[in-house]
Each structure stands twice: as structure tokens, then as C-alpha cells.
């Protein structure tokens, strides 16, 4: 089990995402997971071995290291990436459930005019509307919450995003206030800032996607209300024609149609 498996899980959601969602998945896996695996883990690999305190007192180094690094940066990032990726599974589960229900209805003979066979149901791209819209929007909301929460925890635990080269430690059994030196503080600061920037970009992408979904729905609703007000007699025919036109023009962009029922 490794990051590749998570990529398979989350990548499956890709085809049901909006364009911004696809960009988000790319940023997550290239700029965060890959950087974590190929670079950051090497930088933090010897963090405790090379954490040195200016004392020979046994136990002082252990205690000081534990005090200043309650959770390693690497582990926090790994947990952050796992938590931020998992809301996408809600969407995957919803799509699977929708396909399962559609297959059941098809077997009973209910949706024969919409699909040719069961393979057709599995291949069809599911539109983000109705209850799936709510699931998708909730997953984005949770992603934003998790990103913000982890960034705050980082800031709180390490008093900012900068690693000092020396720390003063006077915890028992250290006999007095000793100097403790962190290994590679500059390189670690560079990677910390990089990962935080990538988190910020991901958060902005999520906020943009949320706004896009909400605006699109509001826009469609107001358009439908206007059409109904102006042409009450021809409402049904014209609105259907409008919808078809919109579907054709938006067909390359994963358009969001309708309002969640």
C-alpha cells in the first residue's frame, strides 16, 4: 500500500470532476505527494540522528527532541495529504451507488430507452447534478476545512513555518539550559515553505471550484425564473430548447445542470 494506490482511488474520481477539480488532483499528486516522496523524506530522514545537544547527559537529547518536534513535519504532511484526498472518495462512492441503482433499474426494464446495455451505464460520465451536486460540494468543503486545519496545526506546533538552527532546552534530565542543533534547518525551511505554498494553492483551487459550482447553479436558476416570467405559455418548450443549447455548448466542460432536488 503506498501513494500509488491512493492515486488510483482518487484518480478514479477525476472523470467526474470539474476542470478545476482535475487541476487540483494534478497539483496534489505532482507538487505535494511526489515532492514528499522523492525529496522531503530524504531531507528529514536523519532528523533525530543528527539532532545534537551540547551535553553528554543521557536522555537530554531525546527529551528535547520530543519537546520541539511532537510530530515530525513529514508525518504531518502525509496525514494532511491522506485526509485531504479522502473526501473525493465520497464522490466515488456516490457514483458507484448511482451506477448500481441504474443497473438495477435497467435490469427491471425501466431505463431501456436511455442506455443500450449495462456496459453503457458503466462508461457514461455521471453529471454533477441533484444529490451528487451536494456530495461533490460537501467533499470540496471538507477538503478546505482539512487543509486549513492542518496549516493551523503546523503553525501552532512549530511557532511559524521557519526552522531555527539552534534551540535552547532546559527540560529534565538536562542539567541546565543546553543548546540543541537541528540538522539542515535551511533546507527544511525551504521545503516547508514549498509545501505550505502548495497547500495554499490547493485551498484557493477548492474555493474557486466551490464558487464556480454555486455561481453556476444560481445563474441557471435565475435564468429559468426569468424565462418562466417572460413566456409563461411557452415555458416548457423554450426552457427545454434552452437547456439543450446549453448542454451542447457546455458539453466539453462538465457543465453543471439543474438545481439539487
Amino acid at each position: 500500500m503506498d501513494w500509488g494506490t491512493l492515486h488510483t482511488f482518487v484518480g478514479g474520481v477525476n472523470k467526474h470532476s470539474t476542470s478545476i477539480g482535475k487541476v487540483w488532483i494534478t497539483v496534489i499528486f505532482i507538487f505535494r505527494v511526489m515532492i514528499l516522496v522523492v525529496a522531503a523524506q530524504e531531507v528529514w530522514g536523519d532528523e533525530q540522528e543528527d539532532f545534537v545537544c551540547n551535553t553528554l547527559q543521557p536522555g537530554c537529547k531525546n527529551v528535547c527532541y520530543d519537546h520541539f518536534f511532537p510530530v515530525s513535519h513529514i508525518r504531518l504532511w502525509a496525514l494532511q495529504l491522506i485526509f485531504v484526498s479522502t473526501p473525493a472518495l465520497l464522490v466515488a462512492m456516490h457514483v458507484t451507488y448511482y451506477r448500481h441503482e441504474t443497473t438495477r433499474k435497467f435490469r427491471r426494464g425501466e431505463k431501456r430507452n436511455e442506455f443500450k446495455d449495462i456496459e453503457d451505464i458503466k462508461k457514461q460520465k455521471v453529471r454533477i447534478e441533484g444529490s451528487l451536486w451536494w456530495t461533490y460540494t460537501s467533499s470540496i468543503f471538507f477538503r478546505i476545512i482539512f487543509e486549513a486545519a492542518f496549516m493551523y496545526v503546523f503553525y501552532f506546533l512549530y511557532n511559524g513555518y521557519h526552522l531555527p538552527w539552534v534551540l535552547k532546552c532546559g527540560i529534565d534530565p538536562c542539567p541546565n539550559l543546553v543548546d540543541c542543533f537541528i540538522s539542515r534547518p535551511t533546507e527544511k525551511t525551504v521545503f516547508t515553505i514549498f509545501m505550505i505554498s502548495a497547500s495554499v494553492i490547493c485551498m484557493l483551487l477548492n474555493v474557486a471550484e466551490l464558487c464556480y459550482l454555486l455561481l453556476k447553479v444560481c445563474f441557471r436558476r435565475s435564468k429559468r425564473a426569468k424565462t418562466q416570467r417572460n413566456h409563461p405559455n411557452h415555458t416548457l418548450k423554450e426552457s427545454k430548447q434552452n437547456e439543450m443549447n446549453e448542454l451542447i455548448s457546455d458539453s466539453g466542460q462538465n457543465a453543471i445542470t439543474g438545481f439539487p432536488s
Binding site: M1, D2, W3, T5, L6, F9, Q48, E49, Q57, P58, G59, K61, N62, V63, Y65, D66, F69, P70, V71, S72, I74, R75, A78, L79, I82, T86, L89, M93, T96, Y97, P173
Partner: protein, 255 residues
Amino acid sequence: MSWMFLRDLLSGVNKYSTGIGRIWLAVIFIFRLLVYMVAAEHVWKDEQKEFECNIRQPGCENMCFDYFFPISQVRLWALQLIMVSTPSLLVVLHVAYREGREKKHKKKLYVSPGAMDGGLWYTYLISLIVKTVFEIGFLVLFYKLYDGFSVPYLVKCDLKPCPNTVDCFISKPTEKTIFILFLVITSCLCIVLNFTELSFLVLKCFVKCCLQQYSKKPTSSMCECHNLTNVECGEIGDPPLLHKQNSGLATSTAQ
């Protein structure tokens, strides 16, 4: 042989599980297996090297480490993952057995070998109970072995050859405590999911039985029961009791 092997085995369980079973698999893969591999394993990597006692007596550190950590928490975690995942394979084996029987007799013995009816329903139920017992068992073992779920930063040790009571310092106790708490929370979540799935299956079976009992007309014959069974065989949680009535039909009684 690695965790990928277990992952591949368990992926096959997915198609024979209920909805809650799939959520359980997702929790196991992502919140337990993945977290173990990408994070937890590295936290305990240098546990003995960084275990330090305030003494120069050779052998004292070794003895104390062995006394306080008879089995490393991370190894216990791995064992728990393996033991908790494998009962699901009973279901896969049972389905494979059914498929083997169909091939051997060269005719359709079941509506679908993967449909949860008859013996497979019992197998699924047993696998759920065994999984839950293992989860609870390992949590109790963890608690008893390490006197709780937190890792202290200091332990006092006076075993031979240590000349007196010495202070021994554990490496990264806070990080280890956080991951152990994470393990406990995810185990509890899995236990809750197992109980929910168990109740769901038993309740569904019970409700179906009751409905079928009440919907039977006074003049109904055995033939009508047979017809009902044939139609409903493909659904999850089918009451196994119903199948005992249909001794004449190979489709319903083959197990």
C-alpha cells in the same frame, strides 16, 4: 510478499461486500494500511537505537528495552491489520468454492455464485463476527501490554545487570502516542462499522422473513414459495431460513 499482496487479495472482497463492507474496506486501506506504511513505520524505525538509559553498564539498555517493549507497537499494529483483514477472505473462498461446484457439475447451481444467500450469508456473518473479535482482542492486548495507549517519555528500570534504578528515555514518545491514538480511533471506527453491518444484515433477514410470513395467503401452496425464492435469490441479505423449505430445488439449497 508485501502489503501489496494483502491489498490485491482484499480488492477481490469488494465485489461481494455490502455497502457498509465497502466503507470498511476503504477505512482499512486508507486510514490504517496507508497511514501505517507511509507514516507509522518510520516513527518506530530507530526505536531501539534511540532508547537511552542513564547508565554505562553494558546490557542494561537491552534488558530494559526488552522488558518495556516485549513486542514493538508497530509490529502489533501490523499483526492486527493482517488478522483483521483475513476473515474477509472466507467470503472469497466460499464464492470460489461455489464457482468450482458449478464448473464441476457443468450446470447453473446458483442464481449467482456471489449472491449473498444461503451458506454465503452465514459465511459473511461469521467473517464479520471474527473480524470484530480480533479488533477488540488486539485493542485489549495493546492496553494490557503497554498499560494504556500513551507512551511515556521516561521509564524507570532496575533489572539485572542494571546496578540500580535507572532512568531510561524513549524516543519520540509524543509522536508515538499520537499514532497509537490514531490506531485506536480507526479500530473503534471499524468495530462500529462491523456492528452496524451485522445488525443491518440480521435485521434485513428478520424483516424479510416476517414480511414473507405475513404476506402468505391461507391457501398458498409450496409451489408459490418456490417461485418467490427464485425471484428473490439474487438480493443481499436473503433470509436463509426460506431456503430450508425448498428441498426440491437445486438452486436454493446448494451451499
